[in-house]
Amino acid sequence: MNQQQAGLAGPAVPGEPKQRPIEEAAPFRGRFKAMALVAFILFLLAFPHLFTMPFQQHIAILIFVNALMAVAWNITGGYTGQVSLGNTIFFGVGAYTSTVLFKDYLVSPWAGMLVGIALSILLAVAVGYPCFRLQGHYFAIATIAVGEILYTVVVNTQVLGAAVGIQLPILPESWINMEFHGTDKTSYYYIILAFLATAMITVYWIERSKLGFYFRAIKEDPDGARALGINITRYKLFAFMLSATFTAMAGTFYAQYVLFIDPNSTIYIMVSITMCLMAVLGGIGTLWGPVIGAAVLISISESTRVMLGGTGMAVDLLIYGFLVMAVAVYQPNGLIGMLKGIGRRG
């Protein structure tokens, strides 16, 4: 029942432990779940050695980058219920900061990433502090506005490559340069897997800490949360800062992986939309929902691209828009809610 209440339908009553009763009632099932998880992690670690074709590794990397962004979006959008349609600003700041530092000052992307994260956190505070007073669609539209303003500014800034974008310097491949050439993408695979794992472990920890209950209380009943003495703005900001951190990491990784960035691929509104769609489809306010959503989206995108050719026919988004509508109307808990529903009956 508790799990049913996650997602769009609103989370569990704050203070009520999540999932535990079921596990306690069925220890065998809990152990099975743990074993399945361990097996899955081992599979992910072995993946680049089992599937050595560049295409297979590329798809896995794409899924992880997108899952990282969706997991990050989910921290504010899913747990605190503040729908940001401008998270692309953090992705853009992450990508542009490390790229500019790398290209013009030969700063290692790892250090550049830390600077990008710091700037993203500052930006999250600057945007969130005033905007978190707004509710629902006012906030959503405000974040669209911030994203579009940054897009317009970057498109008009020559130092940042304007509309043309920036080509990253091709340096000898090494971990310090976060550049790996050739067809083997194993190193990229492990980097992004580690980033995603960091984000998911953080979310797992939040879910089980007091913080998670504060977040859900803010989503479910802001006035009640305030009455209980929770500083709403502070916790919303904290969620937003975490979200910004992981999105900026994704930005730096993207820049190093593709070795080319431009406003359309990093600060465009469609980037924000994609992050949010993946989380919503998979199931917001859940640990695995955004990852499932990302896996489904990338599978749809890549298979339509293969079947129809990359002519920009937007079939993937067509299917995706339809699915999100259907999810919002019929299955507010997303795919993960659907899976859990089937699991319980079966």
Partner: protein, 289 residues
Amino acid sequence: MTFDLLAQTLVSGVLIGFVFALVAVGLTLIFGMMEIVNFAHGEFLMMAMYASFWMWSLFALDPLVSLPITTLALMLMGAVTYKLIIKRILNAPMLAQIFATFGLMVFLRSLAQFLWTPNFRVIQHSLVSDVRLEVGSVFVGLPQLVAAMGAVLTFAFIYWLVEKTETGRAMMATAEDRDAAALMGIDSERMFTMAWAIGSGCVGVAGALLSTYYYIQPEVGAVFGITTFVVVALGGFGSIPGAFVAGILVGLVQVFAGLIIGPSLKFAVVLAIYLLVVLMRPQGLLGKF
């Protein structure tokens, strides 16, 4: 800045402002009725423009001649959207409401791209194109003038419909208190459907008028959609007179920003206004709450 330039900019701003007002009144009407923001509103406009384009391209119908058909088609689209999607999320949490119309936005935009490619299309030689009027030293394109006049007339009609007729009062009563209105024998279901039909109809008229001079492509709704949010926020969500005043203001801001700091940055200025308004005066200029 010379006087001529000032007058010219002023006129263009007001003319496009009237069109913004008409698009915005559709959105604000729906919001006023049921507190749902239709994120796909700009995409409805895009659909109307494509409807005009295809009737011109396939049947040689001028956009102004086919305007009633476009309007009816959009009204139907609005009503169907209400029946299929909105009706089911009326009492859902706000997140579900945001995502439902948001999903519709993504769906319609990519549908247009899928069916009609991302190419820019233009309707050449409509009844009004290629004519320019000269009043004193100010030039006014006939398409822009006709669009503005059509928008003002439609806006006046909507205002009359909502404020002065029995049906309009029934709609306002439903907006005020759904249950009480139902006790007075008002079918709230019918009123909501009508609000969506009328709100989308406004976009139908606006799309047909715009298609005589504006480029048509799948993402045209994005720019108009976001501008419309700004207009509605500035005027006050749910306020019809507010939409009119705010439409003209945003039109003026856009052209003056384009003139002073450059056309490529004018959109950023319009968006900055949204942020200023919602943060400093969330109820908008003429908002009720």
